[in-house]
Symmetry: C2
Subunit: 454 residues, 2 copies
């Protein structure tokens, strides 16, 4: 059976001992975040009200490797190393000479890659004496992950859940509550930020972030936890790519192209950055494809500017592709991808041409997801369905070119809490909402008066 | 980290090559099923209208091992071998000297142990030239598994879903449809059997079985597939216990007690039978605990009699503990356990005192499930929550006795499609419906006039 091996597993002691920090290897000088009041480079003091020092240290570290604390590795062992699959059935279905591998993060208790950072953040906060973490969640994946992680480390957990997802996914909420978290629909009347956004009842990640930051900043025993975008979150996710490198070695393959979906960028970073580093160092050559929704096309259509991470403007300004911090994306089912910006590290790689972004519409991504599910069994989340769609393009291109091509796909999570979206797709009722260039331009006009990026 | 190992994994080539057939090792002479018309022992001719010969052969085989076809092993490789966990966090939470292991079948694409038999049955039917499989589903686990398996082997799939589950779990239906199956709420007006049971709108497994059997028997290109109870289904599930034996060897432990939940018995059989065989052969000594719902207490309160497998009386009569084939259990959330009978092989082991049955109420099982989820991360299905409840009893008994005790728990599936039940539990709105001894007695009076069991 080994000639047809499907899953590549690693033993527990192959859980990485370090995270990969891409910051020192990035092209150009790092662009600092800016204090929203002074527009000067933000320092640790700007972050201490909401983050513990150890995470702030990770945020700005120029060490190429950061050691993973042993209690975090022990928590990882509940599901890591995650499996790498060779998609043999899908390859036959697509009639492609490409060899397709997917790294599956849906085996985590919360069902996505998010716990990789959640357990790291919960541990760091507990060590700092914090009693409660406050966060936001879009699709519910990050909120679930943090609820799970807080349970492991004995912290309280409060989650502001984007209104559209709260309504579409009542069971995500039940899952967070099962792990002991409290969940509030955003925008809510529990914060200034929420009350100011009552005119956007479907909410957005940006609004929910504002609410969570406001609560955390006002409570000395509470901190904030972000599930994507920031350097330390991307850092925590690099266990994914490191394991994939080891698993592909077992398979005897090296990727020609690495494909992942992008919301805030942490999933993409986690899979790709360990490979990107080898490319930046001249040790390897490969392409990187970042797949995003056409309804929220940050990397393909956004402006490369300094902007807030949240809607109301409480966070430091970050250098990134942005649709404008108060742009509210249409309510597509890939709730985890509805974010106006993206991780600064990832944006820099796009700017330098290392990562190629592509945008896909909702129906074509679900078509790809259903085809994937029927071939491989796993029902993917709507977010990685974008990466599956891009993978199909790569596989079809390989067939047309008549070339072998090794594709590594990041399958960041399952779709067990997204079946209403599948239901709508199968019934032909799924919409392809339009991105509004005009709304974006108006949102960009409301950008803070920050220095331009060179 | 190895001193605290949590997951025991096996490589792909450790997928068992044979299923374990307990029939030749069972105490006493095997009791044959009876033809419902003649009350004489049923032969292959009674089964050929709905099952392929290869499965009928497995149903009556007296070989101790049955070879697994290679295409079935290849399908298993999509998720097998499944992980065995040492529940270290739960042990600390329970403050018990017991060592608790759980074998987790929720890693299958359908989320439970059911695909172990579904792929075997889909393959056997495709080899026999069948184009369509018809089945029933209670909790939705079996229907999902068969939908998935039919997808892999290119068969059409029609699922009659028990009304109560159809209403509680719309997303299970969406999952089946995503894999390409058609789903009909039972009782339906598409069959004689369904129309005759319109007065039981919440339905039952027994009614849904009647509908599926009726459709399959009337279509030469279609067969029926049952997800539990029958010998060949129990047979297919024994990959679970065989892997667990190998994984416990890695851990250096042997169970003192094996605990599983019982609906029709296939999950319990799959985990326990490879261990039971060693006990029956005098090679080992251990206890076996079968956990069932107090609302449908087949093994603890049923009569040991010949009875139909379905409500209407289309199937052969089987020797088993039964609450009466037209007993309709209260609609508890553990839909997979709402069955009036149990696998004859398992019933024989209960009768001979090899397996000890215990019944638990709905709220106490959810309390155990939530505690498990907070300690181990995995949110269990309501069915294995019964086994978790029994495991807690064993762990508490070990603490009171001050003895080390090795407990092997069958965690047959996740609860991702059961979050409405968790929601109700957390809100204090979950009921503990009563088993009705009187209804059962009336149902038993309607039993067919079959020979008594010695």
């Amino acid at each position: 059976m080994s000639a047809e091996q499907v899953r590549y597993l690693l033993p527990e002691d192959a859980i990485p001992t370090h995270w990969v920090n891409l910051l020192p290897d990035l092209p150009g000088d790092p662009l600092p975040p800016l204090n929203p009041g002074t527009m000067q480079p933000a320092g640790p003091d700007d972050l201490t009200p909401i983050f513990p020092m150890s995470l702030i240290g990770q945020e700005v570290s120029m060490d190429a490797e950061v050691e993973i604390p042993e209690p975090v590795r022990e928590a990882y062992a509940l599901w890591r190393p995650s499996p790498l699959y060779r998609a043999r059935r899908l390859e036959r279905e697509l009639d492609t000479p490409a060899r397709i591998y997917y790294k599956y993060e849906g085996v985590s208790p919360a069902g996505s890659h998010k716990p990789n950072s959640a357990v790291a953040q919960a541990y760091a906060n507990r060590e700092a004496g914090i009693e409660r973490l406050v966060t936001e969640t879009g699709a519910g994946q990050w909120g679930s992950a943090l609820a799970f992680a807080c349970g492991l480390f004995g912290l309280e957990c409060l989650v502001y859940m984007v209104g559209a997802s709260y309504d579409q996914k009542p069971y995500r909420r039940a899952m967070m509550e099962t792990w002991g978290a409290s969940v509030i629909r955003s925008p809510s009347d529990t914060t200034e930020a929420g009350r100011s956004q009552a005119s956007h009842p479907t909410g957005s990640l940006g609004i929910a972030i504002s609410e969570a930051v406001e609560v955390a900043a006002g409570d000395a025993n509470a901190n904030y936890a972000l599930g994507s975008v920031l350097n330390h979150v991307c850092l925590h996710q690099t266990v994914i790519g490191q394991e994939a490198i080891a698993q592909l070695e077992l398979a005897g393959d090296v990727p020609d192209v690495v494909v992942g979906c992008v919301g805030g960028g942490s999933n993409f970073a986690g899979l790709a950055f360990p490979f990107v580093r080898e490319v930046l160092r001249g040790n390897a050559k490969m392409r990187f494809v970042a797949a995003e929704p056409a309804a929220c096309p940050t990397l393909t259509r956004g402006a490369y500017r300094y902007d807030f991470g949240d809607t109301v403007g409480l966070t430091p300004l970050m250098p990134m592709y942005t649709l404008g911090h108060d742009f509210v994306p249409p309510p597509v089912h890939a709730g985890g991808l509805r974010y106006h910006g993206d991780a600064p590290m990832l944006c820099g790689l796009v700017k330098h041409g290392v990562v190629e972004p592509r945008a896909y519409k909702q129906n074509e991504t679900f078509a790809a997801a259903v085809r994937f599910a029927r071939a491989e069994g796993i029902v993917p989340g709507p977010e990685p369905a974008h990466a599956i769609r891009a993978t199909f393009e790569e596989a079809e291109a390989a067939r047309e070119a008549g070339e072998e091509r090794v594709i590594l796909l990041g399958l960041s999570g399952h779709g067990h809490f997204d079946m209403s979206a599948y239901q709508a797709y199968l019934a032909g009722e799924l919409e392809d909402p339009e991105f509004s260039e005009r709304d974006m331009q108006e949102a960009l006009e409301r950008l803070p008066d920050a220095p331009a990026i060179a």
